[in-house]
Subunit: 379 residues, 2 copies
Amino acid sequence: MSFQFTIHEQDIKSSARTGTLELLHGKIETPVFMPVGTLGSVKATSPKELKDIGFDIILGNTYHLYLRPGDKLIRDAGDLHGFMNWDKNILTDSGGFQVMSLQQFRKISEEGIRFQSHIDGSYHLLSPERVMEIEQNLGADIIMVLDECVPHPCTQEYAKESADMSLRWAERCLIKHEQLGGEQTLFGIVQGSVYDDLRQENAQELIKLDFPGYAIGGLAVGETKEDMLRIVKLMDSVLPKNKPRYLMGVGTPIDILENVERGVDMFDCVMPTRHARNGQVFTRKGRLTVRNGEFKNDMRPLQDDCNCYACRNFSRAYIRHLINVNEILGVRLTTLHNLTFYHTLMAEIRDAINNGTFMEYKSKFLELYTCSKKNYENL
Amino acid sequence: MSFQFTIHEQDIKSSARTGTLELLHGKIETPVFMPVGTLGSVKATSPKELKDIGFDIILGNTYHLYLRPGDKLIRDAGDLHGFMNWDKNILTDSGGFQVMSLQQFRKISEEGIRFQSHIDGSYHLLSPERVMEIEQNLGADIIMVLDECVPHPCTQEYAKESADMSLRWAERCLIKHEQLGGEQTLFGIVQGSVYDDLRQENAQELIKLDFPGYAIGGLAVGETKEDMLRIVKLMDSVLPKNKPRYLMGVGTPIDILENVERGVDMFDCVMPTRHARNGQVFTRKGRLTVRNGEFKNDMRPLQDDCNCYACRNFSRAYIRHLINVNEILGVRLTTLHNLTFYHTLMAEIRDAINNGTFMEYKSKFLELYTCSKKNYENL
């Protein structure tokens, strides 16, 4: 296993901390945001553009890549790094979440998840052992155990049964992973829905398996913000301080700030890329829908102080036009901007933690970000 | 008018020649291919990428830009150069061709072309005078007169009436253009369908108006290749040698070679960008459909000796995957490759003419390009 996690600064007023993850494909400064490259491409961007922004790690989705183009084809192309020509780090999820959210025909049992492909109707089994093989073929630097991500709401009874099974799957993943060998780093995933006792128990059992890092799964699936933040705070008190914590599928800039405060080191979310495709961009003053008529003649950049390719070269009026007539360049520009926004946010968060001013930074950011609800919609 | 055309080399065995067009936004080496940026963006590319390939001039479509976002908005944004952040040359057509090909509701009369917008049902008149105003607002370096591009087939009677009217429109454009003043260069357009005598007469009358350059319009609309090449050859003998000739909407690599041989200096066509979006790429051995199953495991670049970003970094297998799962990066890569292919073709053509080896270059290119019809479809 090629993995090291070093903590640099621990904030005094909160659980926020900075650190460095050292993996086979280079160093990653934490807290970090990881763009999602579901099908071997962070939508609308090139690897060069991602590097130019400064990303050191991206995600790939095991479920999608397993179905198309197939994990063996990717292995033969020099794993996902070679296939998509990305020589920095990659994290792959286990496919469990996607099977749950995308498949109508699936059956979960102790052996794993059986499902029917939406592409050609073929039948597949994602067992813990099979997932380890697939993730090894994909060749990401960090790989995730198979888990069941239960929907919200979920009864405590079902949540307990499921979390217990996910725990047994985690152990099977660990065994298979050790058999397979290799340099990949396997993270465990805490489940237990919104039930504190289940979460605590599940985390404690996972810790016994001594994973090098822990993800908090099963959040950002429809629960309240209060539930999410309470569970993350609880995890902060249970999970070992010296290992990285990854909050899966989160989130908005506000979510990120709140959860960095609660000790999270790693985030991923489709939000910056997905919103970009809908013509929504993040700015320091909140989110704006650039396709709206109010920007028809607006010759300012998307965000005044942004240094991305879109903001250095093009006006809101031009980008609005491109989005409204379905020109690909429009989506390219909003995507570059949104990813730059997230990357800049993380860099500023790290600086603030290192300077001992994280809570002040967070307050100032939120004050400006929520200042003008008139023009800007959801945050 | 900021315009100068200098001929460098005249091929001995054909009418091919090299030259330099000097316009307000820089020099252009001819023969030149101009990518089409219909709505203020060459589809799927950024201005930086176009510059990196080496393009010095692109097209904009007056009809589309007039309707969305509107010529006045573009004027206020620093004309089309400022709006799309392209500081090299631009050519705009007159909108006549698009109204004819896209609009169901249109009425052509001496005053101009009346049509109903497909976007909001509003009524519009493109008169010669109005088109000159719109093109001045768009601010391209080369602008085109309003003409009627008659469909194929077309009776000689209709073709004559239409060509005569287009000639009167050209004169009205010239008068209005002189009234408006400014630095833009106005080209005339020869019409007359596939009828030699009409073409000859129309060209001779246009020449009397002393335009700085002449386009050959009304071709590549469904006539045979023989008709196209015969008309262009005729034009070569009629149009003044010291002025640039622009063959509108042409064409395939073979079309370009055949028409350079017949004295054409400028070309534009949506083919490289449109085919790219359909997953079809140009190679020295013909066109290939990269989405086909035969490329599933093909780890070679699209074209061995190509230096474009796609060929330097990605395999056919990866690009095929991206295209098949509708990832924007796939279309970006095929577009960059196809535009690089066209740009390289023109550079090689110019070198060959300058070296006195154009006809040999043409033969060799065509031999290889048509060699393997087994794998590759249309040329």
